[in-house]
Symmetry: C2
C-alpha cells in the first residue's frame, strides 16, 4: 500500500505556514480536552531513517503542555527488556488517561528490522504481526487512541540526506549503520514495510503516511491528522461498545464448580512426606528452568479463606528467593486505573528464567469487576478473549502458565470465617468485605464457571485445587506446578 500511495498535493509555502500556525494552536486546545475527557493518546512515529520524524515531533510538541505528554525514543531494547515478551517495553509505556505518549520508533521498526536481518523466521514474523495487531486492537478497544504515522521519503532523498548528515562532523553520529543498510537495500525494505503496513492497517489503528520531503509540510500533515483523530476519539469516549470477537484458541473442557467433589484429604503423615519430596523436586526444576531461561507464571484465584496464602507459602518456600516474586494483587491504584487493565500485570511480568506468583490476578476483570459493576458488561465480555490473547503472548514468549482455582464449599468458608473472627491473631484476615462477598457466592460461582469455560486454553489451562483439606490442596498445587514444568523442560 505504501508503494501505491500517492500523497496529497503539496500546498504553497504560504498556505503551509498559515495552516501550521492554526494547527499548532488547535493541538494545544485539544490537549486540554483530552485531559478533561481522560482520553489516552498514543502516537507512533515510524518511517525511513533521516525522514525527519524526530524534528517533526520536536516542533509539534513545542506548543504542548509538557506535563501532559511523554516522548519515548524506542530503538534497541535494553538487556533487561530483552528478557521479556517483545511487546513488554511498549506495553509498560502506554499513556495514562488524559495523557499523550509519543513513540519515536515503535514495534514496527523492531519487528521489521529483525525480519530483514534474518534474525526472525518467516513463521515467527507472522506470529509477531498477529501479536502487534492484537496489541493495537486491545489498546483501542480499551479506550486508547492509537495514531500511527509512517514518514516516507524516496531512496534518492534519503541518500542525499544521509550524505549531508555524514559530511558534517556535528551530525555524522546521527547516521546509524541501520540507516546506511536501509538506503542500500531500499527496495527490499520497501517490500517488507509495504506488507507490514498493509497487514497492520487496522480500522482501530490505521496508518497515516506522511510525505516527508518537505519538513514543514510533514509537520503540518502530522498535526492536522492528529487533530482529526483526536476529535473523532473525543466523540466516542462515552458509551463505547466493542464487538465481542470469537474465541479461536484451543480450549480444554472444565467441570462446573458445583460438580467438583471436595472430600479429598491427606493424613499429616502423607502430607509431610509428600511435601518434602515435592519441594525438593521443585527446587531442582527451578534451577533447570533458570538455566534454560524459561519463565513461569503461576496465577492463584479462589474463594476468600480457601487457603491461597498458605498454599503459595508452601510453593514459594521451595524456590530460590533470587528467582521468584510473589505479587499480591489488591484493587488498582490511580495510575493503574488510568490504563488498560492488563497494564499492571504486564509491568509485573518476570524476567526469563524467573517465576512470578500472582495472589489474585487479571481475572478480577471477569469476577469482582463484573459483579461489582466496576467495568461495563461489554468490557468484561470482551475480556475473556483479551486475557486469552495476553496468555497466548506469554506462551509464545516461552512461559509456563499455571492457573489455580482454589475451591472450597460454602460451609467450609463459614467455618473458617468464624474461626478467623474468634481468633485474635487471625482477625486481620477477615473484613466486612469478605462477609459481603460471601453473600454474592452464587453470582461469583456463575462468573467463575463462565471464566473457566472460556479461558482454560491448552497453553494456559485452569486447575481446580480442592481445598476443603488444605494439606491435600498444597500437595496438589505442588504436583501440578512440577508436572507443568517437567512437561515444558522436555521440549
Amino acid at each position: 500500500m505504501l508503494k501505491e500511495w500517492i500523497s496529497d498535493l503539496k500546498p504553497t509555502d504560504e498556505v503551509i505556514a498559515e495552516r501550521l500556525e492554526r494547527a499548532r494552536d488547535e493541538l494545544a486546545a485539544r490537549q486540554m480536552k483530552v485531559k478533561e475527557k481522560g482520553l489516552p493518546v498514543l502516537v507512533v512515529l515510524d518511517g525511513w531513517g533521516a525522514a525527519g520524524k524526530g524534528s517533526a515531533l520536536g516542533k509539534m510538541i513545542k506548543n504542548m503542555d509538557p506535563r501532559f505528554f511523554k516522548c519515548e525514543t524506542l530503538s534497541e531494547p535494553s538487556p533487561d527488556e530483552k528478557r521479556r515478551p517483545f511487546l513488554y517495553r511498549y506495553f509498560i509505556r502506554i499513556p495514562a488517561a488524559g495523557q499523550f505518549a509519543f513513540f519515536d520508533g515503535s514495534w514496527m521498526g523492531e519487528v521489521t528490522s529483525r525480519f530483514l536481518s534474518g534474525e526472525t523466521s518467516k513463521k515467527d514474523y507472522k506470529t509477531q504481526l498477529t501479536s502487534v495487531k492484537r496489541f493495537e486492537r486491545q489498546l483501542s478497544d480499551n479506550g486508547c487512541l492509537v495514531v500511527k504515522f509512517f514518514f516516507h521519503i524516496s531512496e534518492k532523498v534519503q541518500k542525499k540526506r544521509l550524505k549531508a548528515l555524514e559530511s558534517d562532523p556535528t551530525t555524522a553520529w546521527r547516521v546509524s549503520d541501520r540507516d546506511r543498510w536501509q538506503n542500500k537495500h531500499y527496495g527490499k525494505c520497501l517490500d517488507v514495510y509495504d506488507e507490514y503496513l498493509e497487514t497492520t492497517n487496522q480500522f482501530v489503528a490505521p496508518w497515516y503516511f506522511i510525505n516527508s520531503t518537505d519538513r514543514k509540510w510533514a509537520e503540518l500533515q502530522m498535526t492536522e491528522i492528529l487533530i482529526s483523530a483526536i476529535d473523532t476519539a473525543l466523540k466516542n469516549t462515552e458509551n463505547r461498545s466493542v464487538p465481542i470477537l470469537q474465541n479461536t484458541f484451543p480450549l480444554s473442557p472444565m467441570p462446573k464448580l458445583s460438580s467438583v467433589p471436595l472430600d479429598k484429604t491427606l493424613t499429616d503423615e502423607e502430607y509431610r512426606t509428600e511435601l518434602d519430596r515435592l519441594q525438593m523436586r521443585l527446587k531442582q526444576l527451578h534451577n533447570e528452568l533458570y538455566l534454560r531461561k524459561i519463565p513461569v507464571i503461576i496465577a492463584y484465584e479462589g474463594w476468600d479463606a480457601a487457603g491461597k496464602g498458605g498454599n503459595i507459602k508452601r510453593l514459594a518456600s521451595a524456590l530460590d528467593p533470587r528467582g521468584y516474586e510473589v505479587h499480591p494483587i489488591a484493587s488498582p491504584e490511580p495510575a493503574e486505573k488510568a490504563r488498560h487493565y492488563l497494564w499492571r500485570f504486564w509491568k509485573r511480568l518476570p524476567k526469563d528464567g524467573h517465576i512470578a506468583i500472582f495472589d489474585r490476578t487479571w481475572y478480577g476483570r471477569v469476577m469482582v469487576e463484573r459483579i461489582e459493576g466496576f467495568c461495563t458488561e461489554n468490557d468484561w465480555q470482551r475480556a475473556y478473549n483479551e486475557i486469552n490473547e495476553f496468555e497466548k503472548e506469554l506462551s509464545d514468549w516461552g512461559a509456563v502458565i499455571i492457573k489455580f482455582w482454589v475451591q472450597i464449599d460454602k460451609n467450609t468458608q463459614l467455618a473458617r470465617f468464624t474461626d478467623r473472627q474468634n481468633t485474635p491473631e487471625k482477625q486481620w484476615k477477615i473484613t466486612d468485605e469478605d462477609w459481603r462477598n460471601r453473600e454474592k457466592w452464587d453470582l461469583y460461582e456463575t462468573a467463575v464457571d463462565e471464566m473457566m469455560q472460556k479461558t482454560s486454553t491448552e497453553f494456559a489451562p485452569w486447575h481446580i485445587i480442592e481445598s476443603n483439606d488444605k494439606k491435600y490442596a498444597r500437595i496438589k498445587a505442588l504436583k501440578t506446578v512440577i508436572s507443568a514444568c517437567e512437561e515444558k523442560l522436555k521440549d
Copy 2:
C-alpha cells in the same frame, strides 16, 4: 486463519437444546429493538457447499417477524447484473434502517470462485479484495451492522454429505458442479478461502467461523453470535464518530471558485456551428461506446439558475434515447434515507455501454447536507473519501466519469432569479428555497472549494463550466464529454 482455527468445545445435546431455545427467543426480542433503534443488520452466510448454511438460516429465522427481514440467495449474477460493477447487486440489496437482510452466499463466493477458476487474475483479485474491504467498511461506518459467518466442515464431512444428497433423487439437484469441484480441490480452496478470510477480517466486519459438523450446534453458534453482535451495535447507534481516513488517490489541482474568470462568451453564430458539429461527434462516440460496452457517468452540480437544465438538454439531445438516462436528484425518499447515502446512486448506475446523466449528485452529502446539518460533521468529513472510493469502483469497472461544476457569479444568479420571477412561464423554476440558498452563497462556496480540492481525482476529475454565458457553457460541456470519451476509446 481458518486453517489454524480451533472451534469451541461442543456442548452436550441437552445444553445445546436448552441454549437454542433461549437464543431463539432472545433473537426475536432483539428484532424489536433493532426496529426501534433503526439499526440496519446485514448477515452474510458463506462457507463450504453442503455445510448447512441454508438449513441453519431457515431455522434461525423461524421465530423472526417476516416483515422485518429479507433473505437473498446470491449465487450467479443475472445477465443484467453482469453489466454493472461487481458489488452492484450486493449494494442495492443492503437492508434499510431497522431491517435485517440475510445473504445466503455473498461476494466472497463470487470473488473467490472466479479466482479459483482462473477467470480473475491475481492482480484483479487483489483489487477486488480492496473493493470488498471498502464496501464492508463503508457500510459499517455509515451505521450498518455487518455480521459475516463462514460455515466450516472438513473435506471428509463434505464428501459424505454430498454423497448422501446425490444418492437421494429428491435432493440430488441440490449438489452443484461447483460443490463437486470444491470437494475435489478442497485443499486448494482452503488455501484461497484462508487468505480471503484473513484479508477481509476487519474490525468493522469481523468473520465468525461456525463449526458446522452438527446442525443444531451450528444454528446455536450463529444465533448466539448474532445476538451478541446486535447488542454491541445497539449500544453504538448514537453519537458514533468514525476515524477520517487519509486520502490515497491521485488528486488533480483545482482552482478556487473565486479565481475563475467568467467573461468567456460565444456569438450565436459560433454557438450554432459548434453545437451542430459537437453533437454529431458525440452521437458517433455514443455508438462506439455502446459497442465497446463502456459506461459513462456524467455528474452535474452548480449554482441554482446556473443553467444545468439547458446544458443537460443539449448533451442529451445528441444521444440515442435507448442508451442514456437522466436522473434528476431531489431530496432522498424515506426508503433512501433509511440506507447508506450512496445507495440511491448505486441503484441508478447505468448498464455497461450506457450513459447516465445525474442532475445533482452524491455530492449533496458535502454541500447541502453539510450546510443544512442533515448529517453530522463526521459524516460529511468522511464522505470525501467514501465518494472517491465509490468513483474508484466505477473507474475500475471501466466507466468514464465526468463531473461538472456549472459556475456563475452572484449577480448573474440574481438577474436570472428576477427574470424567472417576472416571467410567468418560468415561475415554476424559482422557489423560496432558491432565495434561502442564495443567502448561504458564501457557505456553499467554501464547501464547493473544499469538495473540489478533495475529490478531483485523476480517474474522476472535476470540470468547471463557466456559465455566465450559457452558450459558452454548453459548448464547453460537450467538448469535455467528447474528449473524455475519446481518451477512453483510445485504450
